[in-house]
């Protein structure tokens, strides 16, 4: 199997996963620096249509567990690692990562210099990449790279109809699904919330009908600007309910308040990102996965204020509404994978919900 990057660089390796169905497989190529949590990463819907290079060189060591799916059907296109493990060892492993790739039709390229790929992406930015079996000629790959990448991933990963996770006697949360990670839902349920997960394009009227006590905007794949039709809904929701927005939700929250977003050179993907809370001065280690970011200059003069910034590159990591009980973070407080440093944000939110 081989991989051609948009810059023309070719990498030859072995396919450890499923056969590529078409002649070529085109996707955006991004990298993740987490050393554990490959299953959570690969099943995170925010990777929809992307291929993931794992910087950690040995992936699959502890197999695949029934407890660690962030979505049941992974939506990434392919996975690249230096090496995948054929002989996993863990008491909670149900199957090997090989079986997982095969059953979900994910090609997995191994034996390539992943650090070299990462250095290219770091210097030249995330880019298109095409995978093919060795017998496909390089010209075919080069042609494939000329194709446009798909957009509007959220339409595909979002839930198709509302789903209720009843929790008796508790406050009700509507989770607006842009491609939510399972652990967001799990945490809300664990904290005794009655949760209704609704499709991304649910109208404000429908949401009002659920009589929620609070709203959570989830993470999700792609460009927040694909979600222009959600913006007015969000603008109305923040006036009515305590609102907590994560990742894609955070970006939509920003757009709803007249801020702007832009694409980062190579994004933030990993579980070691330091974020500083401007009010307390404290630093949290966060789990991140995003290509887009809120433009800090665009926040000035709006109803939002920047509450948290990245210590790596000063990008916006948290926003807070000046008037309404609405706040957002660019990272993943639900972790999974990654540190639980900011899980207390769920408690903060629920505290507001209960007080409201």
């Amino acid at each position: 199997m081989k991989l051609m990057l948009e810059n023309g660089e070719i990498f030859h390796g072995k396919n450890f996963g499923a056969k590529i169905k078409e002649q070529t497989l085109l996707s955006e190529l991004v990298f993740n620096t987490a050393m554990t949590g490959y299953q959570e990463v690969i099943t995170d819907p925010s990777y929809c249509d992307q291929s993931i290079v794992m910087t950690y060189p040995m992936i699959g060591n502890y197999g695949i567990s029934n407890d660690d799916y962030e979505s049941l059907v992974p939506s990434c296109k392919a996975v690249v690692a230096k090496e995948f493990c054929e002989t996993p060892s863990h008491w909670n492993s149900g199957s090997s990562i090989k079986d997982f790739f095969l059953s979900h039709n994910i090609p997995a390229l191994m034996g390539v210099d992943t650090r070299k790929i990462v250095r290219i992406l770091r210097e030249q930015g995330s880019m298109k990449a095409v995978f093919a079996e060795d017998n496909v000629s390089d010209t075919v790959l080069a042609d494939a790279l000329k194709e446009q990448l798909a957009t509007n991933q959220i339409r595909r990963v979002s839930i198709k109809s509302p789903t209720h996770f009843p929790n008796r006697g508790a406050k009700r949360i509507v989770l607006l699904d842009f491609g939510y990670k399972k652990n967001i839902l799990n945490l809300l349920i664990e904290k005794e919330m009655d949760v209704i997960v609704v499709p991304w394009n649910t109208t404000i009227e429908e949401i009002n009908n659920y009589k929620p006590d609070g709203v959570v905007l989830s993470n999700g794949p792609g460009d927040p600007k694909d979600l222009h039709e959600v913006v007015p809904t969000v603008r109305q929701m923040q006036e009515l309910y305590p609102m907590f927005s994560i990742c894609m939700g955070h970006q939509v929250f920003a757009l709803a308040n007249s801020c702007d977003t832009h694409k980062l050179k190579f994004g933030h993907r990993g579980v070691n990102h330091p974020v500083k809370d401007l009010a307390s001065g404290k630093v949290f280690i966060t789990s991140q996965n995003h290509s887009y970011s809120v433009d800090p200059n665009s926040v000035e003069g709006t109803q939002l204020e920047i509450s948290q910034v990245s210590l790596n590159d000063n990008t916006v990591e948290g926003l807070k509404h000046k008037q309404y009980p609405a706040f957002s973070v660019q990272y993943h407080p639900e972790a999974s994978p990654g540190p639980s440093d900011t899980m207390f944000l769920f408690d903060n939110f629920i505290h507001t919900v209960k007080g409201a």
């Binding site: 008491w91 650090r115 540190p339």
Partner: protein, 1055 residues
């Protein structure tokens, strides 16, 4: 909180001499911390009694006190220097215990001095087993069922409820001295006894054993704003039951899923927060391999061996950051020096795997009990980096330098499956090699897992290595296979041996297919950000990231893992060589694999290659860097052993050509050389068989000193007094067909010289006189500078001989020559054309940076251009004594009697205006508390009795009385000495061993039965002393030195 501007001057407490459990890692962390404090504009005062350290170099701290690490001296320094704060978290358990002692008596408070990085309550909460358990219970973190006990009865009561196995951990000790695992009552009683004895507060923890659990460590840094990060987690390949210092360790963890990783991360952070540590901290956790249950094992509220490993494994400089935190800075205010662009408040991400393997001293102590347990026995460690486990493991194995360049063990060849399993069950230092061999003969990974509880993941990887071995044997060396072998860490040597072809054949094949390693950067961030730090490891991949600079460069070979005979001294010399090269405007490149040392710090050299010191690995770097030359004379025998191979490959070795090494080591050429120069040496011959040896012995006459050629630190060296002993030497020690050097053993004063030759002139900074007479290894001798008893004539003769030898050898750089002086005549015993163990000591006491001068000489700057006058330098007005330091309490069944084979692990210094004062300090620096009264057990060989009487009289005048068995007792009382008679071993319940065990003896003089017989009384006495922490001297010369120190102390007390 920002930088505390009120702290302008800080006293840093070092860790003292190197002992097992506390080694070079504290020179590394201390040096880094001092530099970090100075960056913040703080004036730094240092106390450390170990002269063989970089941290005690004059240019590191602003002021250095090489004094004993005792409260008394720390107080004196504080009164004199008036620092604003004391930093005790960089000097291991030694510094922490001292801080605790002073804090408890309210000294810091009284003097208005801040204790930085830690507080009294933190130390007590973390180190007192009972308080720690209470704290864990309070914050809801589980600890194993356990109880702190102060006597055997309570301990036994605890066992009634839990059953065996039980772990015993003494409180407040280094590396778990005196502890262990007991599986029955008998073992339990023994271990409790030694644990209580070894604990300074006579307390130990008895704990239900978690043997078989995964042992996981987290390295945490916390600042005053409560920001907390994990620098690295590590997984022990060897499950709970083997001390982490004796375990093979990987970083990051390999078999934990994210849920477990985060669960244990959360627990670690919670603990560090509850202890309010500001700085580095290490948390050890036992994780059930079959569930998410875990137990907290222990916490080290300071930087440690593990944090040194974590720093080298990730690139993140824990000590540097911790020192700034101690001054009040927070991590977001500190730049990550590795990337130069991000801040220190983040968690490193690795895109490789690190394997650490301990280095044990059992090559020296063949009779030692080698079963690994809760008491650490390793003297050092080696680390290797790779992109897969197999690669990192095999690189680490090569780096060990134990004559096993691959996972091979010849001892296993005759074993069948069940014998092998039994051997694996012994759980000794060779276990990993036996496991590999078991897989080779068809034992399954599951069987091995049952036997060892080592996770199947590791076993499968080792099996993968074995499967590749099979492929080498059965397939052609086609490019695909060759590539796979190299990717998995196989050396050309291993491949050629497996294939039974010349190594050149493999090299050629490899080069034909352009299979060569690339170098990747250790950058803390898995390449996410651009990094500036030139810290590299090799792997087989596409892209090479190490770009040689346009400047001229020199490669300095390091000395690998610390072992007896090759310690931190060589790392000091390596670092000095690097500095000298840089001062000359060239790039200094270091190759080394020891994670504990300063030489492998990221900012010491211009480019650091963390690689095995194995010819192939070194050559790969030479081919990439194309240096002007390679310097080998500072890396001990490790580097010297590479010289011949490098020269054969056309590499320019600067300063120690193989020809010169060979002249010195080859008996015949050496004799010829000395005879030509008319220099005397003890008569000597060589033999390769017992028959030959017997004949030659007749020619020379007994006693004889025997040793194999090409050895480190007197390994396998022995004095034999008759033919029987000669015979047993050949049957037990001499490897077949190896050349044995036989010298007439001369009893006289020993002295040694370290000199530097620039090819024309010879500069001798100083001469060291040994206190013990010849026959005791120079590394184990007390030594004094300047010489106190050697005549002017003999000194001149030594200078003359040294000059003659260095010049005539054509050697450039450092040379060490050992002499014996008998009847005012000087004989040469040994010449080493390289930096010696004593170089750092002499550098410190003569104020001449020997290794730097030598490096510059090697690079063409003559001694006169360096402003040095040839000949012996005028001695310093101070007297400096070097004291050897031993780690016998940690090594079971090792004979502590000194002889020609080196046994010490470290050294300490005592310096003062005269010999007696210097001696007193030296003993105290070495941890011998110079008692001024008490009971001395005297057990002497008959030949020593008369000679000893005047010595004992001096002890008596100081306030000692004596204990001896009948014969000796009679002799003593004849001379009017107060002596109590005690029964010989086994003759009564209250025999002399029981006196030692009961703590009735303060000091032992023992010169009897120095044979290797474990059953001998002498051996039993010496072991009882080591196990009970009683001082035991086996040389009358040392005793003579001690009595001088005692006299000094008594005198001082009277003043």
């Amino acid at each position: 909180m920002a930088l505390d501007k009120t702290i302008k001057k800080v006293l840093v407490i070092g860790s003292g001499p190197i002992v097992i459990g506390q080694a070079a890692e504290f020179d590394y962390s201390g040096t880094q911390a001092i530099e970090s404090l100075k960056e913040e504009g703080v004036e730094v005062v240092l106390i450390n009694s170990n002269p063989a350290t970089i941290m005690t170099d004059p240019e590191v701290a602003d002021k250095v006190y090489m004094e004993p690490l005792e409260a008394e001296f720390i107080k004196k320094i504080i009164f004199k220097e008036r620092p604003d704060g004391v930093l005790p978290t960089m000097g291991g358990q030694t510094a922490l215990n001292l801080a605790l002692e002073l804090a408890r008596e309210g000294f810091f408070e009284k003097e208005g001095i801040k204790l930085l990085g830690v507080n009294l309550k933190t130390i007590e909460d973390a180190e007192d087993r009972e308080l720690f358990k209470q704290l864990m219970a309070k914050i809801g973190e589980p600890t194993p069922e356990s109880k702190s006990v102060e006597c055997l009865e309570d301990a036994l009561k605890f066992v009634e409820t839990t059953g065996y196995p039980i772990i015993v951990r003494p409180a407040f000790t280094l590396g778990g001295t005196g502890g262990g695992i007991a599986s029955n009552e008998e073992e339990f009683k023994t271990i409790i006894g030694s644990a209580l004895k070894n604990s300074p507060i006579n307390q130990c923890l008895v704990e239900k054993s978690l043997a078989g659990f995964k042992e996981i460590e987290y390295e945490i840094v916390r600042d005053s704003k409560d920001n907390c990060i994990v620098v690295c987690n590590m997984e022990n390949l060897d499950p709970v039951g083997i001390h982490t210092g004796d375990s093979i360790v990987v970083a990051p963890s390999q078999t934990l899923n994210d849920r477990e990783y985060q669960m244990l991360r959360d627990a670690s952070l919670k603990i560090v927060r509850s202890l309010a540590i500001e700085g580095g901290c290490n948390v050890q956790i036992a994780l059930d391999p079959k569930s998410q249950n875990y137990y907290i094992i222990e916490v080290n509220p300071r930087v440690s061996r593990s944090s040194a490993l974590a720093s080298k494994a990730t690139g993140y400089p824990i000590a540097k950051v911790a020192a700034k935190i101690a001054l009040g800075k927070t991590m977001d205010e500190i730049t990550n020096p590795i990337t130069g662009s991000t801040c220190a408040c983040f968690e490193p991400s690795l895109d490789y795997i690190v394997v650490k393997i301990p280095r044990w001293p059992f090559d020296k102590f063949q009779k030692a009990q080698r079963r690994l347990g809760t008491q650490m026995m390793a003297t050092g460690e080696t680390m290797a980096i790779g992109t897969n486990f197999e690669e990192a493991l095999l690189k680490a194995v090569r780096s060990l330098e134990i004559k096993r360049p691959h996972l091979w063990i010849t001892e296993a060849h005759d074993f069948n499956k069940s014998e092998l399993k039994a051997k694996i069950n012994e759980q000794d230092d060779d276990r990993i090699f036996y496991i590999a061999h078991a897989l080779r003969i068809g034992v399954t990974t599951h069987e091995l897992h049952e036997l060892t509880k080592i996770d199947l993941w590791f076993l499968e990887k080792i099996k993968n290595i074995i499967s590749l071995e099979e492929r080498v044997k059965s397939e052609d060396l086609h490019p695909e296979l060759l590539h796979e072998l190299k990717r998995r860490g196989f050396s050309d040597y291993a491949i050629s041996t497996l294939k039974d072809v010349d190594i050149e054949f493999v090299e050629r094949k490899r080069k034909e297919h352009n299979i060569k390693p690339v170098y990747k950067m250790v950058d803390t961030c898995a390449a996410e950000f651009t990094s500036q730090t030139p810290y590299f490891y090799s792997t087989y991949a596409d892209e090479n990231e190490s770009i040689p600079s346009s400047k001229d460069s020199i490669i300095v070979l390091g000395s690998g893992p610390i072992r007896i005979g090759q310690g931190i001294e060589f790392d000091c010399a390596t670092v000095h060589a690097v500095k000298a090269i840089q001062e000359m405007g060239m790039d200094a490149i270091v190759i080394n694999n020891n994670p504990e040392t300063v030489s492998t710090d990221y900012d010491v050299s211009d480019r650091l290659y963390f690689e095995p010191l194995h010819l192939e690995d070194v050559m790969n770097i030479v081919e990439l860097e194309k240096p002007i030359g390679v310097i080998a004379q500072f890396g001990g025998q490790t580097a010297i052993n590479l010289v011949q191979g490098l020269e054969a490959k056309g590499v320019k070795v600067l300063g120690a050509a193989h020809e010169i090494v060979d002249t010195c080591e080859n008996r015949q050429s050496w004799e010829k050389f000395l005879t030509n120069l008319k220099i005397a040496q003890p008569l000597g011959l060589t033999a390769t068989s017992l028959i030959q040896a017997k004949e030659k012995a007749k020619e020379l006459g007994y006693p004889l000193m025997l040793r194999p050629s090409y050895v480190i630190g007197g390994q396998a060296m022995q004095i034999v007094y008759d033919q029987d002993e000669l015979q047993s030497y050949f049957s037990e020690i001499a490897e077949s067909n190896s050349e044995i050097l036989m010298d007439r053993y001369m009893i006289g004063v020993e002295a040694e010289v370290d000199a530097i030759c620039d090819g024309k002139e010879v500069f001798i900074p100083g001469i060291l006189e040994h206190i013990e007479r010849a026959g005791i290894h120079s590394g184990d001798s007390f030594a004094v500078y300047p010489p106190q008893t050697i005549s002017e004539k003999a000194l001149n003769q030594m200078v003359e001989i040294t000059t003659k030898i260095a010049k005539n050898l054509g050697h450039i750089g450092m040379i060490n020559i050992q002499f014996v002086i008998k009847k005012n005549e000087v004989y040469v015993i040994e010449v080493n054309p390289r930096a010696s163990r004593t170089a750092p000591f002499l550098s410190k006491v003569t104020s001449e940076p020997l290794a730097k001068i030598a490096t510059k000489a090697i690079l063409g700057i003559s001694l006169s251009e360096q402003g040095l006058t040839p000949g012996l330098k005028e001695p310093s007005p101070y007297v400096s004594v070097k004291a050897p330091v031993f780690s016998f309490a940690k090594l079971k069944a090792v004979d502590t009697a000194l002889g020609p084979e080196m046994k010490s692990t470290g050294e300490a210094i005592g310096r003062d205006i005269d010999m007696k004062r210097a001696l007193e300090k030296a003993f105290r620096s070495a941890g011998i508390n110079v008692p001024t009264c008490g009971t001395i057990l005297v057990t002497l060989a008959d030949k020593h009795k008369t000679e000893t009487i005047p010595l004992l009289q001096r002890f008596h005048e100081c306030g000692f009385n004596f204990l001896a068995t009948e014969g000796t007792a009679k002799e003593l009382s004849l001379h009017g000495l107060p002596v109590r008679t005690v029964a010989k071993i086994g003759q009564s319940d209250t025999d002399l061993l029981s006196e030692i065990k009961k703590g009735q003896v303060d000091l032992i003089l023992n010169t009897i039965t120095k044979g290797k017989n474990v059953e001998s009384d002498g051996f039993k006495i010496r072991r009882a002393a080591a196990d009970n922490g009683t001082i035991c001297l086996t040389s009358l010369d040392t005793a003579n030195a001690l009595v001088q120190a005692i006299e000094m102390r008594v005198l001082k007390a009277l003043e």
